[in-house]
Assembly symmetry: D2
Homo-oligomer: 372 residues x 4
């Protein structure tokens, strides 16, 4: 598996640098027969896009997807689907002064140490622009998961700095609320507070971290493979592969450290599980409950506030970032987390089908299947 | 990649059920020329072993490793190394009554839904006994990493329930203290408190979660692959693949959500990084700093306290676990977290060497390399 | 994918040296619910076994398979199936004198150059003994392919030195004839000739090559993936991975070089294809016709006749092989070629099911499906 | 590994249909620091191109490669290299009449059975146009192999129908002769005969098969992995993945069936191997000798001569191909076979380096290394 490919059977290979000619991806292993048009990508790409509100970076990309292959007369054919987006708003001059500098908190130094060379324009390959193609690829996964199984994938911001939602029931979120504010926040009453907080933050020149929670409803029990192909293991790798992520947890997650076993374990009744501390996964396999995965985003290191970095000669330099950057990268990471969740589910669905057969073609597992 | 294999180039494939004839693994891709004998496995297997103190499960396994292949006259030959451990202390009768029950918080129900069949003896494949082979395989990785690069891998318990270490500098842990108490706890003064806490917990029949932190010193900068093969992405998958894990974070991890960027980003000086909120990884690639990864373990669901589960007919049953189980599975997970960290580093070292060449055979990256 | 693993979804990882403690394999990705017992392996292992007749090596191994995991109450559970065979008839003294010699035509020199170390006992890992585990793993594949799809896999010797079958219709072989003579020869009338030929060859101390043809009937159309996962591409890799193989072809194979297109292309009628020069594969995908793959085995280089080799100091040595060896290794390679064909089909069946769904769950492709 | 990707560490993923908007590839795992410009691709793409002489198809494509990523200031950076070629000469109308027909000898029927849908324009994904990107990707591999190890890869036509080279020493081919005639033929004196033969063939409306031999000089000993990652196993899969290939052999190949062991085994002397029946590979590992791999191409099935096919309703149709097609596809397959050989060597070089270290960084294997 190459390091720019994700998924074993529904395989997404991405390419492109932030300020190169284009970014793109190849989606291999896609089932045939899925209706697909360029319009399908618009909604999620817009949700992720820069320049949406004053709270995110001012870079504006059309993000017009071209389908280069794998679709014939509007339907996927089973051959690789190549998607291409030209970079139209690249401003290399913003970054020219840091070509020989290693910025603190950035991948510059690590890339240099690894390869002995790096593309400094806009962060090159390490830019979050790469995640555009994940969102695009996941559009296909979401369609198939929904059409075939009724799976619905959503995401929301579950923490911004030290602010957490007040009114909040994770299993009963009003997704219209989430989608109607620029923070993907589940509690409408708090939005003004967030606006004020972000305005002050932007004015200060500083940044802050965030927590994004992605959920999937309707996932059948049985997806995920034991041991090294666990559903939660794949989710952990998927989320950690997103830029600026420093942590991932499932269900009760880190909070389960302080829980007692008698509290944590989700009791089972003929009507279903009585709670969902597990986050929908036991032993690496889905249980039929809602899949819940949360991701911790660090505050971006691209600040107007000066900081000590190094240059390629090993001397101290003062680094100030004047380019366009988000004061909280976690906000528009919400669609990216959704995308990675969808890609993992799609891949695991195909892997499950390979070993165990299509749902509906095997004998029902138990008479009283719950939550399925 | 099969779901029971871990690693792309240093590949560990494990097999075996808790109460089957044996457990084992095949280690493929191992460099030739490493001295290896059965005695090498004893130390780490003993650290992980059950039955060590009254605070862990009473099951006692000799855990005697047999080397079946890949070693000739005490040296690895480059061919696959098969390791085998016979199960000698399996007591199937302990588990017979739950063959047709799904225990809350266990993988039973998920396995049944996936496969339509499961081996109920001791949890079968979902038992933590499988992790024995990870620890064994990692012994080889630790040897090579240390002999060739001077890498040292350690782990400690960084939280037990709500108890956290008092005296504690993560970069300057006294590993003799950690190894000299049954909790892998870094602060000797707190050990009596932990003993008291665990005795009360065991008496109550309940269990609690824990946090384990694994660190690696001496990792050269440049290991890890961008995007989907990130060092931290691999670590997240590795840790999440361990039984009972619900979360993983790197460096400041979830705490970075509430941090400001001006606080989080680690400044660079000619003498090295000024802090390590990154946990040794930027852009998915090692920076030469200490690698720091923490893992959240849920409280075990195997309790003497009764709880509602289901049977295979979909009826409610009251489940009581009378077998041998740890009140805090996180404690002896410490060597397992170390093992997964070592396996990830070994694999990434080989992957880096493949693409970029051996350390020492390429032109130095920068004149004033720091921390390397 | 590690180099000792075969198959992407039905993955067989083998281990072990010819004269080490044991050989074995781990079969991962196996569908649950297949009845499996140690007796199932006996027939094919006996067909492959050494010591069967005077025309093959005199080494006698019990080849008793132990199932270490993945089977519960006689049925596969979906978890990895580990199979183990202890080496009981290893005679290391036969090979002691060549520990520091490179024998012409053997892998000794290549292993030494690659690894700087090798296990010289009986050829170590490069011995054909490794293929025992392929035959064992393929027993499981054959069962599933037959039970689920009615696929039948057979093999026969289609050339021995310069001798080819006289009476011979590849699509209508009498498999009872093939199985009733020690050469897997399809024409009973020629068996005495082969006996005389082999007796003379053995007396001369020389060896000869052979051609083995493996066929599969009942393979549904649609298995195999375009481009780099072609059914015939996988077959080529599979057959070439067998010891002593120097060539692989499909259907008309090398004979198609001298064919005209008007002769080669198989016409299609509503009743089916009119011929099978394609060998059952077009564009890398099965057509529903008989799959036909032939493999060229070189003559073994282990001869009583002396030859010039080198020692590890680079000096010329005269090499004479006095151990037990077959004058024609191709003969008992027949079950091995069958095994590799079955393993490829099994893997491709699962891969097809992953992307395109179970046969029977999709709309029939064309009204008048042919040959399927 | 997705089915449109080739190579484990130097991974080439191709996409695109014959008459879609574009074809392209993503090359992942490429070492950093290789000088690369669009001009580098011109020579080999021209050698492969259609429309070169009257003996190949009349389709004319500019085949102008655009580098979309992975190269900065003319040097590879270690990130994925995406290459794109727009299709400019697609004439869909040539193929419109066969959209609902299955042509004999083509992949049409197999694709339909597999996917239930296919892109009929110019053969869609099953067109040999896909191989353009293999040739492009291999340009990078050839550069690195040559610059770092002095490896040289060549190919020639070793059989055309029943015509074989007269004057011919495979180890001493004059590559200027091969490159100076449109047949890649090694014996200049035969070229007029070939011209006459091909003119007659084209006039007849029929086609013929061919044999292409690709060789690599300068390959160090030790490349290739035992068992399922054998150098010759990878070569077999690589060649069989090319359109119209029905067979692959190594060194003496199928001719070794009729050889005696005393003839086949290549004797070793302090000055090197005395012959090369092995084709440079023993036990799946390179020996330092010339790598020799031959590939059998079937005659194309696209003929002006009518033949019976089927339509999607299962009825017989008479198929006549009036589009542009080569009467012998094997001729311009020569650069494709070279490309696949180069890609396999590149991948194995990286795999060897991963496990065993860079050449030059390990202790020399034997004092008197031969042929290395």
């Amino acid at each position: 598996m190459s390091s720019n490919s994700f998924g074993q059977l529904f395989t997404v290979t991405t390419f492109g640098e932030s300020h190169g000619p284009a970014i793109g991806c190849v989606v291999d292993g896609c089932p045939p027969g899925i209706a697909l048009a360029v319009e399908d990508f618009e909604h999620d790409l817009a949700r992720r896009a820069t320049g949406k509100t004053r709270h995110t970076s001012a870079r504006r990309e059309a993000d017009a997807v071209e389908i280069l292959s794998g679709v014939y007369e509007g339907v996927t054919t089973g051959t690789p689907i190549a998607l291409l987006i030209r970079n139209t708003d690249a401003r290399s001059k913003d970054y020219g002064n840091i070509a020989r500098q290693f910025r603190p908190g950035h991948a510059d130094y690590a890339y240099w140490q690894k390869y002995g060379i790096r593309d400094p324009r806009g962060g090159g390959r390490s830019s979050a622009r790469e995640t555009t193609m994940r969102v695009a690829a996941a559009v296909i996964a979401k369609k198939w998961l929904h059409d075939r199984f009724g799976v619905r994938v959503h995401g929301y911001l579950s923490q911004l700095g030290e602010i957490v939602p007040v009114q909040f029931d994770s299993a009963a979120i009003d997704w219209d609320v989430v989608e109607s504010n620029p923070f993907f926040w589940p509690d409408a009453a708090q939005v003004p507070e967030l606006e004020t907080y972000m305005d002050a933050l932007r004015k200060s020149g500083d940044s802050v971290g965030a927590r994004v929670t992605a959920v999937a409803d309707g996932v059948p029990p049985g997806w995920g493979e034991p041991i090294y192909g666990k559903l939660d293991g794949d989710l952990a790798a998927a989320m950690m592969s997103i830029n600026a992520v420093k942590g991932v947890d499932i269900g009760a997650g880190f909070a389960s450290i302080a829980q007692k076993g008698s509290e944590h374990r989700d009791l089972m009744t003929p009507q279903g599980f009585a709670s969902n501390h597990a986050g929908g996964v036991l032993g690496g396999i889905s249980t039929g409950q809602q899949i819940v995965v949360s991701t911790a985003f660090k505050p971006t290191s691209s600040l107007r506030l000066p900081a000590h970095g190094l240059d390629t000669d090993g001397h101290t330099v003062e680094v100030i970032t004047t380019g366009r950057h988000d004061p909280c990268v976690g906000i528009r990471a919400t669609p990216i987390c959704e995308a990675m969740l969808a890609l993992v589910l799609m891949d695991q669905a195909l892997r499950h089908r390979a070993q165990c057969g299509d749902v509906g073609t095997v004998t029902p597992r138990i008479p009283g299947r719950i939550d399925g």
